[in-house]
């Protein structure tokens, strides 16, 4: 790509837009924090504190200053990477989140592998067999996956595969017996237990992971399948497909070598967005499976009104989504020559 003045201008505009969006996001989280029905001073000093202590902390927190000064302070703290202390755990919020994130990433990564690994072939298959029984079955399955309350699916899964059939482990990341047996190196239990060579823990952890990951994956499967089918149909309707077939190219080569090759960029962006979308499902699935990850951390903080932690969690989700959207825009620009 050659750098031109027009290109630079477009880049500057893009950067400006992102900055404004981030600022708006901070205004939003700040507003949520101020609206929360908790007294941040009371939460620090406790119920019994005398008025003098209360007043001191009140001023330390800058609560006596105008709202815009408080916002500027929040902005400054955030930019320096200071997200405050969680009132519930007593730890810095950033440390808390760093500790719970691996569990969620482990869950979401398995889910997206299942979702994309099954969803893309299913979508291609449905597109090739358009309006035939296969297509209708795929359509029903994806609609069901898209309509199910995911926490309910999770519980039905636990009842059937854990309580009735006994095929998988129950809630949590490992059985109580194995809890804390492996030293956390990366925080990813599967990797840690493999490093330690503790295969009992590894298999137990995998056994606990498979059900929540499959159910989380089902939601992204529905989305990925629908999108793949739609992208494939766009390609299959074009004349180059007919040309390829007329020239004697085999059916499989036409589908995978030509049509599929052309939708790869679109698919990458869709999978990236679906990966972020799993955060939403993770909030519910982690609660169902007592999975000690980001979703559960966020929900617990919201239930207890832990202001700093709630604000930071919401901010993080917003930043992740803005980044993912940006990434998918960029991928288009880099890989699709027509947008240059």
């Amino acid at each position: 790509m050659r750098l031109t003045s027009a290109g630079l201008l477009a880049f500057a505009r893009q950067a400006g837009t992102i900055l404004v969006t981030l600022l708006g996001l901070l205004v939003l989280t700040f507003a949520i924090g101020r609206l929360m029905p908790v007294d941040p001073v009371r939460a620090i000093v406790g119920e019994e504190a005398d008025p003098a202590t209360y007043q001191q902390v009140y001023e330390e927190l800058g609560m006596d200053r105008p709202v815009y000064v408080q916002f500027a302070r929040y902005l400054g703290d955030t930019l320096r990477g200071d997200f405050g202390t969680s009132l519930r755990t007593g730890q810095p919020v950033a440390e808390d989140i760093a500790a719970v994130m691996p569990a969620t990433i482990e869950l979401a990564t398995f889910a997206i592998l299942l979702g994309a690994g099954l969803g893309i072939p299913l979508g291609v298959w449905a597109a090739v067999r358009k309006n035939q029984p296969t297509d209708h079955v795929v359509r029903v399955v994806t609609l069901l996956g898209h309509s199910m309350p995911i926490f309910w699916t999770g519980m039905i899964g636990l009842i059937v595969f854990y309580a009735w059939l006994g095929w998988v482990g129950g809630g949590g990341r490992v059985s109580d017996f194995y809890d804390g047996m492996v030293d956390p190196v990366t925080g990813f239990l599967l990797i840690d237990s493999a490093i330690a060579g503790d295969w009992d823990v590894f298999w137990d952890a995998l056994n606990h992971l498979i059900l929540p990951a499959s159910i989380l994956g089902l939601a992204s499967l529905a989305y990925i399948t629908r999108m793949t089918r739609s992208f494939m149909l766009d390609q299959l309707n074009q004349e180059y497909i007919t040309t390829a077939r007329v020239k004697g190219l085999s059916f499989g080569r036409t589908i995978w070598g030509h049509a599929f090759a052309n939708i790869r960029v679109q698919l990458v962006t869709i999978v990236a967005l679906a990966y972020g979308g799993l955060l939403e499902g993770a909030v519910l699935i982690e609660t169902v499976f007592s999975w000690p990850g980001f979703g559960q951390y966020m929900t617990n903080n919201m239930l207890t009104g832990d202001m700093n932690a709630v604000m930071t969690c919401v901010l993080l989700v917003g930043v992740i989504f803005i980044a993912l959207n940006l990434l998918s825009d960029l991928l288009y620009k880099v890989f699709d020559p027509r947008t240059r």
Binding site: G24, L35, S147, L284, T299, L303
Partner: protein, 302 residues
């Protein structure tokens, strides 16, 4: 910058039709002709009948406890079994339909006007005003709806009313986007120019000329988002941030049933089945609506 969108944008081929009522009649006739959207319509009708005639359909008082009859499996006396304090699950689900319907109706009533106002004003006036409103819309769109609703409920306090407000606050951006797009095309039409030449004020043009033309597509888009609204409301209820017990809200019922689910599966299975049925119904109707609106792609995409 858009969030994950299940639905492609709706085409605005609605402009030529005479009135919204006319137009909706055409759409309903089309939906009734398609087996899967007909199923959706039937489920929604059943939901409305259950809600209206709940006292006649329910076999018991949904709040009546009977400690002799706790955690009974489904039987002829209790179609869907009984819960941990002996309440009849079937009757609670029947009454719960009123809550579901209330959520749907209230969210639609709040979201429609907000989305229309933001979208038409931004589209009509354009310039920096448009830019500011669309930036705000983008910020809201950059969140998954459940997480933003969770944040708002955390700010406002748990409860059914606040959950409805929170869901409404997260559901208006797609409507605003749509109304803006329609307004941008309508702004340049001859009849709007004619109204301007006659000396009509901006407020009058927006209210009398533009809003009525946006109505049909906004109504359709609202229907499409109802599946998400129902799942979000149930999710909030499940997490304990939405409707509070003893209200027979389906998500909240599942949250309590969770404690007993390994032995008493019916506490979880039936309320969840009800949520699934309603959200599936809205998705099927949504699919049908897309077909009705865009005959070119009928049975094609999605």
């Amino acid at each position: 910058m858009t969030a994950v969108a299940m639905h492609p944008p709706l085409p605005s081929r609605l402009a030529g039709l005479r009135s919204a009522a006319d137009y909706l009649g055409t759409i309903v006739r089309h939906l009734a002709g398609n087996a899967s959207s007909l199923f959706g319509l039937v489920v929604i009708s059943v939901l409305i009948v259950l809600a209206v005639f709940a006292p006649l359909i329910a076999t018991q008082d949904p709040y009546l406890q009977n400690l002799q009859d706790v955690l009974q499996p489904p039987s002829w006396a209790h179609f869907f079994g009984t819960d941990e304090v002996g309440r009849d699950v079937f009757s609670r689900i029947v009454y719960g339909s009123r809550i579901t319907l209330t959520i749907i109706a209230l969210v639609a009533v709040i979201v429609g006007p907000i989305g229309l106002a933001v979208g038409t004003l931004a589209g009509y006036f354009g310039g920096w005003f448009d830019t500011v409103l669309m930036r705000i819309t983008d910020i809201f769109l950059s969140f998954p709806s459940l997480i933003l609703s969770l944040a708002f409920v955390a700010a406002l306090g748990a409860g059914l009313e606040n959950a409805i407000v929170a869901i409404a606050l997260t559901s208006w951006p797609p409507i605003a986007r749509l109304a803006r797009a329609e307004t941008l095309t309508l702004r340049g039409t001859d009849y709007v120019a004619a109204a301007k030449l006659q000396g009509a004020s901006s407020a009058r043009i927006i209210w009398k000329q533009i809003v009525p033309m946006c109505m049909p597509s906004v109504l359709v888009r609202l229907t499409l988002s109802m599946a998400t609204v129902i799942l979000t409301a149930a999710g909030l209820g499940f997490l304990g941030l939405g409707a509070q017990p003893p209200l027979p809200e389906w998500g909240a019922m599942i949250a309590i049933g969770r404690r007993y689910m390994l032995e008493s599966w019916w506490l979880v299975a039936f309320p969840g089945g009800a949520i699934l049925a309603v959200s599936l119904a809205f998705n099927l109707i949504g699919d049908g609506l897309r077909d009705a609106l865009d005959p070119k792609q009928r049975r094609g995409r999605h």
